[in-house]
Point group: D2
Chain length 363, copies 4
């Protein structure tokens, strides 16, 4: 009700503020007997953690996850799985200058007005640090999906106006290997180099820039998604839009599809050589009527530029008087390289929940 | 769980198939003592009903709504409000040719595979006819929001590649009056004429085309939206993506924002002459940190072209054999004119739910 | 949220007032491909309907159920199943004397105070008539459970101080046959005769009396029930306590168990001749740790006497002034004979929901 | 869905096994600006902790609670409140003899069968240790209710066949003071002495005994409870039945009410000298039509005897073979003295949730 839970059967609840004791997550509804690979979970967190390269924030946090419950002798037991990530680098003093002024395009003003109180340190609950808990839970979801052969991979498809070419993902591991060859997490090495140079320039100017993450889900069986409100793409959309800084979501033909004609947009069914049903095109993005159709699920997520810049900006204080805010702290010039594991994690949480929900479809 | 409910406190559950007895909705959680204006509700349905102009489907249904419960002497009583809309124009024979073939880019194949059974008549549950129930419920939500001064208006902002200029909504009633002057429901009369001519041409070719609907919410108080998963724009996004044919959602700066720099994207706070806090720009689309900030809430919804075209198309039958489907039945050449009230209804359902949820934020 | 829904996966939402247009229920989450036996559903409603014998209210309603959606060619399709029961015998004038006075031990006062408005006719939403919708939904749940061999039977085990002996149910159909031989629905014919005579005497005095219903669930597999809050008996308890007039619930040893010692109460495990695990006693009532253990599930439900009596009673009016209420209308001298199908229906709704939930327990 | 959450608006999720790292709870939906008295919360835990007297288990755990999030400068912020209680006394070796045998009337067999795996140490998730998390959350709920004047008090009203006289609670603090004068937590000192002697005798015999806890809620406003399924007493009943070892729940007249006549059971409304509406009797237990009526809410909870006894008992092992289990470990001879704070906590969680839900009843 207060919005800190996600999912219906595989249901997570996250907690924690940026500069409190710890952040964490409880997963309720994970089936029993799933093998828990803690190294894999930590590896996913490492892709999100700050300080990993010159184009991310220089804050340092190891973001080490610890499992408190729900796992026994390496396997899930069907009881709630609690994971916590202690907060380490709590330089709260970096943030004392923000107590009484509202940072532009941050959540200071809306939190203060909504709740009448806020933990201002580092954005408190509104900090993107919360997404670390999602990545931990999403990693477990991925482990479950992998037992079914379902793979979820994302990469940075644009930074500012620099766009990577469309990709087709045949092999998830190879795609990830390619993507991880560069620090911006774009699967095209040439474009990646261009993006990195661009971000580095932006960083030096004390500015920030937006970008897009594209996600591909392969080997998804037909039948996931619940009409009419919980269409698979509706839940994916909500999941993505719940990530800090996301301003747009599209799947399949997306916004471009609104300019097309039906005669060019319709995906024609066909039986392929293996006897499987597929469509000749995939403008549907792998989802028809809100239900997966067995084709690759494809969507894009648009991130606005990070609001914290190293420039002085006009604003107001908590009494509504004019004030100025100076750029301090350590922040990301572009959020998308660290957003890749978050997008994957949220997609995994949607998929695993719908996979479980679909177990109850037929008698 | 099976996806036919929406909302947490103001919660609706819809039911019904395109060619069954009736469709309808139960609203549970509407506060007591709201005056129910049945004419207003019917008026909203009339904007969605088929057969209203030459650029919509020529099917005829009066879509007359009847309230079965929850209203006493013209006011809500706090008990569930059941509304039904009987199905009238059930020319099921129009659809018998679809029993055994899967229509391209429709939900026939996914429903059949997911459930192992489907009511094929007119798309059954996957028909956009289901959205009439949403419009009825959304009209009640709007009546409640109006008691708080909150207004929600949408219009067609693009058809194919024809785009209306950006609008600023000052007065909801005037905006609606302007929009209703033309059958395509675009607030710009010149662009509307162009759109209508274009759609009419598409219709004559037996083809269809996509488009976009833009929505504006004005007078929304600060504080609606629940971090972290139920951000206001995340719930709006899910609501919109759950509408048939929607392939994309963006709010505020949207996809274009991913190309911008922080220094140009940040919305600077300022106190206006009335002493109210506002922002000088509105790239945030009225929402910061997932919570409304008092500025107009603005978002866009992309609709793909309708899948039913009057051309013959290749497909497969239920055994997976190659088949052909011929274009029959009565369908819309472009869905966006009838989608306007649906977008508004879904937005209203999100807003009313968050308005109620926000009553519990502070002690 | 407003309390008109029940269940998580197999989820029902009821609507309707005693003297409105209709009452009804939507079932969302019933798996597809279940055969729907409408005669069976109507038969269950007939056991609850008024006017069925001299010891029930003489109001007459046929309580004919109609399915509006979700069923195609005799089978469920996985979409929401809407059932309505039109209201027929709406002698609202019988109730006009209740507009401004609060009937003792009824819900008039609490509804009026909570909502600030109420449909006073026949108790409106607080009428036990609402339970007809539960019986319809519960009948469908029973049909599903029967496909798994699970049977639910209840009977009247006490009226006032007249108690039937404890029973063991071996065969559900035989038990029901025996129970239906008398109008009080007690499986022991001699005790039933005594109960009927007693109720008839109470009725002639214009008074009412309470009683108990005992319920037995046989062939339930091991594993239903979700620790820690949704223990099977906790959900059964809530289900029963949500029935009008219920004041108590106990399972297994129940209240008597609070007087026992562990050494006499423990149910010793044993492997029987068929190789199945069973317990030598069943003080656990078929549930251990909130999870069914394969033994018969047994519980008892206590109903208070009906509040409407044919005596004049002191009360207050809506302004809080002293008033008198005279006994009018047509009511039941004892509610338990008609409560038997309601108890079974609610038990079935709990069981079917947990059966579905349990499909997601293991990977 | 997996049953580890409770409540709708004030929603808790507990986690943790008896002998894992820690147990804990997340509270989502607590309004902001509530003062958090950590000493009070710890004090409630101290009433539940093991080792507090000669008639409780001699296990020693300090059960020290730590708040990880959601509280800033001593007040709630409206974000999730995570509380953990590290496990200290983890003598797992005490439990190694239970790995392969199923303890009679414990949850070993049902957990093993349901999940296919279980953390056997100390009962794992099925251990009553989980209720410590509930007590911590319930203490916060009580703090919120106290701001509204609502008080919840319980005491031990029976042990075996020893019953305390019915009590009327005028002043919550005085009642608690009286109750805490003895280690069995019965408000009647003479009966308490008898109970203590009895339990001590049972303990020396290596046996256990059941008992009852009675709960009183005073100063509850009219209007809490949501018809039809979420009646206040239905939610209280579920809450109580979800506590380990509970086998029965009754409110108001309870089971005895089933033997009464309407003419004696009806609670007559009256305006008292202060001008408040009250009822002359309270067989309704403060709840009518599922909604609080302003009278004291009164209910009783029946606990079975603890299953762990110091006797050898026959049982079966995990292969279904006959086995014997010897009584080891440190356990309670009677659970009710430590159950008093748990009953209060669960009642507080129900009340606070319904108090919040009721904020949305009227427009």
């Amino acid at each position: 009700m207060a919005g800190n839970s996600f999912g219906q059967i595989f249901r997570i609840t996250t907690f924690g503020e940026s500069h409190g004791e710890a952040i964490g997550v409880i997963i309720d509804g994970c089936p029993s007997q799933l093998k828990v690979d803690l190294d894999y979970i930590q590896g996913e967190l490492d892709k999100r953690k700050p300080g990993q390269s010159k184009i991310t924030t220089q804050r340092k946090e190891s973001d080490t996850v610890k499992i408190l419950s729900g796992v026994f002798e390496g396997k899930t037991t069907g009881t709630p799985i609690a994971m916590i990530i202690p907060n380490e680098d709590q330089r709260s003093k970096d943030y004392t200058h923000n107590v009484d002024v509202f940072r532009p395009s941050h959540a200071d003003y809306t939190y203060q007005t909504k709740y009448g109180i806020r933990d201002h340190r580092g954005g408190g609950r509104s900090s993107a640090r919360e997404t670390a808990a999602r990545v931990a839970a999403g990693a477990l979801a991925k482990l479950l999906l992998k037992t079914q052969g379902i793979e979820i991979v994302a990469h940075v498809s644009s930074v500012g106006k620099i766009n990577a070419p469309e990709v087709e993902v045949k092999n998830a591991d190879q795609f990830i290997e390619e993507r991880e060859k560069n620090i911006v997490r774009c699967a095209d090495q040439a474009v990646a180099a261009e993006m990195i140079e661009y971000i580095d320039g932006i960083r030096k100017q004390g500015d920030t820039v937006g970008g897009k993450v594209s996600c591909h889900i392969i080997n998804c069986p037909v039948g996931l998604g619940e009409p009419v409100f919980d269409k698979l793409h509706a839940d994916l959309g909500k999941a993505m839009l719940s990530i800090n800084a996301v301003h747009g979501f599209e799947y399949g033909s997306g916004f471009a599809g609104s300019e097309m004609r039906g005669s060019e947009h319709n995906d024609i069914f066909s039986k392929n050589q293996s006897g499987d049903i597929e469509t000749l095109t995939n403008f549907s993005g792998g989802i028809q009527g809100g239900i997966s159709n067995g084709m690759p699920i494809e969507f894009k997520v648009a991130f606005k530029p990070v609001a914290t810049i190293m420039h002085n900006q006009a604003t107001i204080d908590s009494e509504g008087n004019a004030a100025e805010i100076s750029g301090k702290g350590r922040h990301d010039p572009c959020v998308v390289p660290r957003a890749v594991p978050i997008v994957e994690a949220m997609a995994a949480l949607v998929l695993v929940d719908h996979w479980l929900r679909n177990r109850n479809t037929q008698l």
